[in-house]
């Protein structure tokens, strides 16, 4: 016996909305099974991963902190994915944004520089990420080099650049030889939204990005152009939309937002440069973008949901001695489930017995 896919005549909006939920539940069941295989209680794991973070105000703040970079990057990626372009190097663009923005913070360190430092750092972060994102876009549009492989290779390069800087020229001379920069001055620090809270202004940037994107995608010609380029490239050409210009634009947007996420994280959360400034936000954001169905509001919800797995993963490591890698494995399975569920929305599955229909 095997099954056969037939395209559905019409796609119900209810199914479209429910597909990511179904995918999430399926991924949870699989993860529960894996935890059971490892000889632990899935119920206890569910409690630590989901229920405890949601019932604790400190964790709820942490949720927003972790969701911030995820949402910013995923919103940017949704531009690429809508145009059927594969920027999988957001992690690298995040790192380069953080590096370029931090350059100013280190340059002005201890100089009593004014309030202009922070905004300029953020702008540099956006510029750094956008320029780094434009490398694969340029190679693709100018020379026809596949953007998937180049954008990914540049992630490794970006991480090595950061590693070099914090171990070499940017290392804190009074830091006991630890590979880290000096702690940023208050003028170079992104402050909490509420006094004494953990959520920094990066969360507001994410919200603004969500709203702006909702408007751009739904109400502007550019949004229509992306959709057309992704769904019907030939029609987009006939309409006079340059595929090259679209490619450059979406890579610049996604790189810029990833860079903003990077500098916001370093300046608002970590407070200095270290060899590792991301638990893989750039890759996880791909899962977030698809879980949110490439829809801005959907992505915001998905970012919060996936952020939960990061926080749950950290407490599960302490409380249940479950390794952090479980979180990453779960995020991978979740993305597989989301993509499969997407297919279920557009196709009807029929089971055929052998010999019946080819």
């Amino acid at each position: 016996m095997r099954f056969e896919l037939t395209p559905r005549a019409s796609v119900s909006p209810v199914m479209r909305a429910l597909a990511p939920v179904a995918a999430f539940v399926t991924a949870f069941l699989i993860a529960g099974f894996v935890i059971w295989l490892m000889g632990r209680s899935p119920v206890a794991a569910f409690d630590v991963y989901v229920l405890q973070p949601l019932s604790d105000p400190w964790s709820l703040q942490e949720l927003a902190v972790k969701a911030t970079p995820l949402a910013l990057i995923a919103i940017g990626l949704s531009y690429c994915f809508r145009a059927n372009l594969w920027n999988i190097g957001a992690e690298g663009q995040y790192v380069i944004g953080a590096v370029l923005g931090s350059w100013l913070a280190l340059r002005t360190h201890g100089t009593e520089a004014g309030a202009w430092v922070l905004p300029l750092m953020l702008i540099l972060g956006v510029v750094g990420g956008a320029l780094y994102g434009l490398i694969p876009a340029f190679l693709k549009t100018r020379f026809g080099v596949n953007e998937i492989l180049t954008s990914l290779m540049l992630v490794y390069v970006a991480q090595l650049i950061l590693d070099y800087l914090v171990r070499g020229p940017w290392r804190d001379p009074k830091g006991f030889n630890f590979p880290q920069s000096v702690t940023f001055d208050p003028s170079a620090t992104l402050h909490p939204v509420l006094e004494g809270g953990r959520v920094h202004y990066g969360a507001l940037f994410a919200l603004v990005a969500v709203l702006l994107t909702a408007v751009i995608l739904g109400r502007t010609l550019f949004g229509y152009r992306l959709k057309l380029t992704g769904d019907a490239p030939r029609a987009a050409r006939f309409a006079g939309f340059s595929a090259k210009a679209t490619t450059m634009a979406v890579f610049a947007i996604s790189g810029g937002l990833a860079g903003l996420a990077g500098i916001s994280e370093v300046s608002g959360q970590i407070g200095q440069l270290q060899p590792s400034i991301s638990p893989g936000y750039g890759f996880t954001a791909i899962t977030v973008a698809f879980l949110g169905r490439l829809n801005p509001i959907g992505i915001l919800i998905a970012a919060l949901v996936v952020a939960l797995t990061f926080i749950g993963g950290e407490s599960a490591q302490i409380l249940l001695k479950l390794p952090l890698d479980l979180t990453q494995a779960f995020q991978g399975i979740l993305l597989l489930c989301v993509l499969a569920a997407d297919a279920l929305v557009s196709y009807r599955i029929r089971f055929v017995t052998r010999g019946g229909g080819k």
Partner: protein, 305 residues
């Protein structure tokens, strides 16, 4: 043995896993399926093979476990991209994320364990040839195996009926389906073959190349293997050349780091990744756009009744 010879020997060891993984991916891609999960399948192959080899103290069982892990990962991928006609780029990426995470779970208890080097097989007479003899005729079984596999795959693709079927399905699945060729079945096996090769490549990394396991030890080799397939224009012979060039680049940068030229080690570590980008760029300059790519590569197949 001179230092020069030792360096050449390590180049062979560094190139072999790239070659094996890329050969598997080449067959998968020739059938029209793009599996970006090579890195994840390799990571699982490395972790499972090392776990099995240490547990049962058997390299053979380790290799079998590594290949099985690769096949199971590939089967999961096949279910999603063939069964559900899901997006191949996204699914492959998901497979890599999943594999890197899961391999961390499998390998964690074995951090710190070590395996003995495996036996090298001396081919009489030929191994007495200066330099080349030691290089190619005094190697482990995997090296010989990878060479044989290259030839076998080249012959299979160009000289057998089944290979022709596979290629035509990769070129145009709609026409192939209209001719009554079993698109799903061929792709299913091609994906599994790719998984087995990636698993084997991972096993080689863990059991022969490093002889220990550490998290993230594949270090982008799966992605380089993917790039090699493009670089080789989907031809097995060129894959052999490409794999050895990249193996050489990897080993030489390691030696350059040890020699301390005053260049930061991070610059040298970036060489394989930058070389990949450069190779893809040069290729595009010379041949124009993606020459040799199978026509249906990466396109989900849904028969129109």
């Amino acid at each position: 043995m001179t230092t020069f010879e030792a360096i050449l020997l390590t180049i062979v060891t560094a190139s072999t896993p790239l070659l094996i993984a890329a050969l598997g991916e080449l067959v998968t891609e020739r059938s029209g399926v793009l599996n970006l999960g090579v890195e994840g399948m390799m990571a699982m192959g490395a972790a499972c093979s090392f776990a099995a080899a240490v547990t049962f103290d058997s390299t053979l069982l380790g290799v079998a476990a590594g290949m099985l892990a690769g096949v199971l990962m590939a089967a999961l991928f096949a279910l999603v991209v063939l069964g559900f006609a899901a997006n191949q780029v996204g699914s492959g990426l998901a497979l890599t994320i999943f594999g890197l995470g899961l391999s961390g779970l499998v390998g964690a208890p074995f951090v710190g364990a070590r395996r003995d080097p495996i036996a090298h097989i001396d081919i009489p007479v030929l191994s007495d040839i200066p330099v080349i003899g030691r290089l190619f005729f005094e190697q482990d079984l995997f090296v010989y195996g990878s060479m044989a596999l290259t030839i076998l795959i080249a012959l299979y693709l160009t000289r057998t009926r089944s290979g022709l079927t596979l290629r035509s399905i990769g070129e145009n699945h709609t026409s192939a389906n209209a001719l009554g060729l079993p698109v799903w079945r061929v792709r299913f096996w091609a994906i599994l073959f790719g998984g087995a090769c990636s698993g084997l490549a991972g096993a080689y990394l863990a059991l022969v190349y490093t002889r220990f396991w550490s998290p993230g030890m594949t270090a982008g080799r799966g992605w380089i293997a993917l790039a090699l397939v493009v670089f080789a224009a989907w031809r097995p012979g060129w894959l052999l050349v490409g794999a050895y060039i990249f193996g050489a680049a990897t080993v030489l940068q390691l030696h350059a780091q040890a020699a301390q030229f005053g260049v930061p080690p991070q610059v040298l570590s970036a060489v394989p990744y930058l070389a990949t980008i450069l190779a893809l760029l040069l290729l595009s300059l010379r041949r124009g756009r993606a020459v040799g790519a199978p026509g249906s590569l990466g396109v989900p197949f849904v028969p129109d009744r």
